[in-house]
Amino acid sequence: MHIPDGYLSPQTYIPLYGVFAAAVTVAVKKVKKEVSARDIPYLGMAAAFSFIIMMFNLPIPGGTTGHAVGSAVIAILFGPWAAVVAVSVALIIQALIFGDGGITAIGANCFNMAVFMPFTAYYVFRLFNFNPTRKARVFFAAFISGYLSLVMAAILTGIEFGIQPLIASSTDGKALYCPYDLKIAVPAMALEHMLLFGIVEGLITAIIVRYFLRNEPGIIYAFRKGGKNENE
């Protein structure tokens, strides 16, 4: 899901840089307000976890490879705004040092995996609106949250790929950037994430949330942030 340089037109990647910058501005304010200093080590580990989990390329036999992102579990445990910062740090380092994801596409990749995905995950998880003592239900909700958020982010990425032939083609009809249109890009991105990578994201989300529920339930943002604080 790391869009490389050259796949997105400037008409796409520049606005996405803008959206990402706006999200970071808000995230900084929210993290300042929501995160306590004692949780800083967790956030460092969350960013490192996201970096590492994205290195586990999994094959779809006869097809392509892909990976989980870790945004969903970070959003549930530490809040979607903290996830914005953590996953962005991982993605920017991947782009700068390892060439994984383009420099021009940093805004797009961060928007897809570090903004859109954690918020989707968080709100899907909150939809279940259950009591944290119902452990099986928490596990199920976390799985769905991870699964859906990765699939949705993949579809969003597919849309960004797929609109390129519409935005920029040369006079002879050849694409200037990503050559595949929406009819190809969206199903391709959606299907592979529905078949395999989403399931992996769902499982790691569910397993880690369960682990924290057993070992440090007080820290879980999605459960802490209830009642009074909810609409602040």
Binding site: P4, A37, I40, G44, M45, T157, L176
Partner: protein, 121 residues
Amino acid sequence: MPSGREVKMKMNKLQKKILVILLLLCLLTPIGILLPAFFNTGDAWGEWSAQTIKELVGYVPKGLAKYSDIWKAPLPDYSVKREDSSIVHRSGFYLVSGIIGATITYIAMLLITGLIIRNGE
């Protein structure tokens, strides 16, 4: 600087445990090279090189050709050279890249969140 408050991170037991788990995960990263190689799968969708694109659609889109090499990453594709010969080499470099990348990410995140949170106090 914050006054008497202890801001320096002292890790609790769970945090130390998670750090060990992360380290173990780092050691397992070569799976990300070995599994795709075993099943002989290609690149991730939409992450092909200009060369592969040419094989797929018959031409290299002009904008793609212009931008695709805009950035020279120090460790491209979690490796040191473009075409590593053996899978053992590639796995080794991948592992080292994983440790380097995860460490930099960890430290960068500690510094950034530290700055954000302390500025507010």
